[in-house]
């Protein structure tokens, strides 16, 4: 039986802890290098460490493939992951909701910002043809979707937000090397806040290395990763409209 408080890797027997690793050490291959590889892994808390493969891959680099048995487990019972709470609605319901509750189209601006030129992801969400048979936001009758494309500066995004009176901003970030996405995403939030518009829009970010958790940390309303389709985003936007409406109505009531 699996003990949820100590979940360990499984190789071929429960709790054997089996883990595969590979890495390079910047030293020439030798028995010492192999032993260094073994110790490195042993210091990770792995037992019965076996260097399955060791190979010199240049005069001063050696590559290792190692197996070891992880002695520690994870307390799965205690993990809570922030997730976008989402009821994915069919397209028609989304359109209907916007029509009846907003009485106008929902305005969405999308862009792949700063130096990032990977549009395939944002296109998959926004463009009519969509992705994997899931039509994009442009195909929703009640959504006005403006896809600004790639390498759009934050300044341009904000200009467009004003221009179309955007309800939501969709940002894509694919390049993450040296955490450039964090820099770019932070820059946008800071600018939105400086302009005083951050609270007036729903701010969403997506990309293969984006998590909801990260998005929240950076001050976004939601983060989406791989296997996202337009209906997920649209459902989230509609849900936000609902939530904000309630808030607005609440406010108005107070104002009365």
């Amino acid at each position: 039986m699996i003990d949820a408080q100590h979940v360990k890797p499984y190789g071929d027997t429960l709790n054997d802890g089996m883990v595969q690793l590979s890495f390079t050490l910047p030293i020439p291959l030798s028995s010492t290098a192999k032993e260094a590889a073994r110790q490195l892994v042993a210091n990770m808390g792995l037992e019965e460490v076996a260097v399955a493969h060791a190979e010199g891959i240049s005069d001063t680099f050696s590559f290792f493939i190692v197996y070891g048995k992880c002695s520690h487990g994870v307390n799965v019972a205690e993990i809570t992951v922030p997730e976008v709470t989402l009821e994915v609605l069919p397209k028609k319901e989304i359109d209907d909701f916007i029509r009846t509750h907003l009485n106008r189209k929902l305005n969405v601006v999308g862009a792949c910002i700063e130096s990032d030129a990977h549009t395939v992801g944002i296109d998959a969400i926004m463009n009519i043809k969509g992705f994997n048979g899931h039509k994009g936001l442009e195909s929703y009758h009640e959504i006005d979707a403006v896809n600004m494309g790639a390498q759009v500066t934050c300044e341009e995004v904000i200009r467009k937000v004003y221009e179309v009176k955007a309800d939501a901003i969709l940002i894509s970030q694919v390049v993450t090397q040296k955490n450039i996405h964090i820099a770019n995403l932070t820059r946008l939030v800071d600018m939105l806040e400086a302009e005083g518009v951050r609270d007036k829009v729903t701010l969403v970010v997506g990309g293969p290395r984006i998590s909801h958790e990260l998005a929240k940390e950076l001050g976004y309303d939601a983060g989406f990763s791989s296997n996202t389709y337009a209906e997920h985003v649209a459902s989230f936007l509609v849900q936000e409209v609902k939530r904000k409406n309630v808030r607005e109505i609440g406010k108005e009531q107070v104002n009365l």
């Binding site: 190789g11 071929d12 429960l14 076996a50 260097v51 399955a52 493939i65 197996y67």
Partner: protein
């Protein structure tokens, strides 16, 4: 599709030599029985269980008769005589014998004819049970379907039958079509079959009837879930070859590693013993509708894959004839061959293509078994995964039938759950991506591939001619296969060979041979 421009008359000649070779060995086979054959007879009659020391009851009885020097009549004779005397069931009688309450040899003798008749009746009833399991399989396959060729064949080998069951089900969900439960090291040299569910094996799990049952049930379960009948494989080899055949027939195994010579060559089991054992085991396997896998692939782990390629083909033709003698049909013969050429060989892949296509064309109706690279796999799992990929490519390009998946950790450990997953995923990808290729591609007329295949074929036929001349036993002594030499008096298990007396009784043999075989 024929692509090699092979001369069919050469192939026919090879089959002719192979038949001559096997015919000679058959004389020895017909004249002998073995302790395990006799124990198989008891198992066929439903006798099971172990004594207080953990020795199987069937061993107890056969040992006793063997020591008494009376096994030449066949255990069936003594048992049925006992039954007729005592009116006990086979199992009850056996227990009495083991408990020393009855001594079979001391009982009064019923008439030969009466014994024969009862033996015949009991044998027919036993075979009926096997036929039922066979029918069950056929119905399940008709109902659920089965994997598409090349069928994805993986091993589980945790040493613990319960973990094996978990891994086997996971593998089926991942896409495996055939699951083989590898046997612990050493079992093949045991002259008895261990009993019950087992949880401690090394490099594999004990083959026991209880373990067979546990895995059969696990696979039937997952088969319904994945909507595909999942084949179960085990090892019908070693000193208890025919007994395992019986167990497999009763527990509805679908595939058995079962070779006429593997035990001799790779386990140093005496050849006189093995030839007799393999015969009876194949009668049962054939009857049970089981597909056998031969072990020629192993030759290339000890001999050179390029230089000894022809020995594989020659041996397959011999194995085929041995199987035909047991009433098996081509459709049951998963003849083994392998992708084992040193990956450093320039154009090694072309040799592999030639060989794989050759085996395919020589045995067009057989579900040939194609084995992955093993010997030249290293601890570099990434490179290993690539070696396995080329193997997958070769298999789909040449239309192999039973495709044993290479595993990236081959040189390290028996497969972990994700090692197997990665293999299955990769093979599925390659097969789906290249499936039509075999029909699209031709080999150059008299090009390297055609010439290589023709050369291997010719060398194989010459070798068979030579073996037909010196005899198979001598050929084994000369180390013709796998570069390993074995003598006819050497190896384990010779003391378990029994000279049949003229009134030797074993109704199963004639019953299965004379039309009883489900194959006709």
């Amino acid at each position: 599709m024929k692509k090699l421009n092979l001369d069919q008359s050469i192939i026919d000649r090879g089959r002719q030599y192979a038949k001559q070779i096997v015919d000679k060995v058959q004389e020895h086979i017909d004249a002998h029985s073995t302790v395990t054959v006799e124990r198989s007879v008891l198992r066929l009659l439903g006798i099971d269980g172990v004594d207080q020391a953990g020795v199987p009851l069937v061993n107890g009885i056969v040992e006793e008769l063997h020591s008494a020097g009376v096994l030449g009549k066949g255990v069936m004779y003594w048992l049925v005589n006992g039954i007729l005397n005592t009116k006990l069931s086979p199992q009850q009688l056996t227990e009495c014998v083991i408990n020393r309450e009855i001594d079979l040899v001391q009982l009064p003798r019923v008439s030969e004819q009466e014994i024969k008749n009862t033996a015949q009746r009991l044998a027919i009833l036993s075979l009926q049970k096997i036929k039922e399991r066979r029918k069950e399989r056929e119905e399940l396959i008709a109902d659920l379907g089965k994997g598409q060729e090349p069928m994805l064949y993986v091993i589980v080998a945790t040493g613990n039958v319960y973990e094996d069951a978990i891994q086997a089900q996971a593998a089926a969900r991942q896409g495996a079509d055939i699951i083989a439960v590898i046997r612990t090291t050493g079992q093949s040299l045991l002259d008895y079959v261990p009993y019950g569910a087992t949880t401690t094996g090394f490099g594999g799990t004990y083959a026991t009837q209880a373990n067979f049952q546990i895995l059969r049930q696990a696979l039937d379960e997952v088969g319904k879930e994945v909507n595909r009948y999942i084949y179960l494989t085990n090892y019908c080899s070693g000193l208890c070859m025919p007994e395992i055949a019986v167990m497999g027939a009763l527990e509805r195994l679908d595939v058995m590693l079962n070779d006429s010579m593997y035990g001799i060559i790779f386990r140093d089991i005496n050849m006189k013993r093995t030839f007799v054992d393999q015969y009876f085991s194949r009668l049962i396997n054939g009857y049970a509708g089981i597909i056998i896998n031969t072990g020629e692939d192993n030759y290339l782990t000890t001999a050179d894959a390029i230089g000894s390629a022809h020995t594989v083909l020659a041996s397959e033709l011999i194995n085929e004839q041995f199987a035909f003698r047991c009433g098996m049909i081509s459709e049951q013969l998963g003849l083994g061959h392998a992708f084992e050429i040193d990956p450093q060989t320039p154009n090694g892949f072309m040799y592999e293509l030639a060989q794989a296509q050759l085996v395919r064309e020589v045995f067009p109706h057989s579900p040939i078994k194609y084995m992955p690279p093993t010997k030249y796999m290293t601890g570099n799992i990434f490179k290993g995964h690539v070696q396995d990929t080329l193997f997958n490519v070769c298999s789909i390009m040449t239309g192999q039938s039973l495709h044993l998946l290479g595993i990236l950790t081959e040189a390290i450990h028996t497969p972990l759950i994700h090692d197997r997953f990665l293999s299955i995923e990769s093979a599925k990808y390659v097969f789906n991506n290249l499936r039509g290729l075999t029909d699209e591609i031709y080999f150059r007329q008299d090009g390297f591939i055609q010439q290589r295949a023709q050369e291997v074929l010719e060398k194989a036929i010459s070798l068979l001619e030579e073996i037909a001349d010196v005899g198979l036993m001598q050929a084994l002594a000369l180390g013709y296969f796998a570069d390993i030499s074995r003598t006819s008096e050497g190896g384990k298990g010779l003391q378990g060979v029994i000279v049949k007396e003229s009134d030797y009784l074993n109704p199963f043999i004639p019953l299965i041979l004379k039309g009883g075989n489900g194959n006709d």
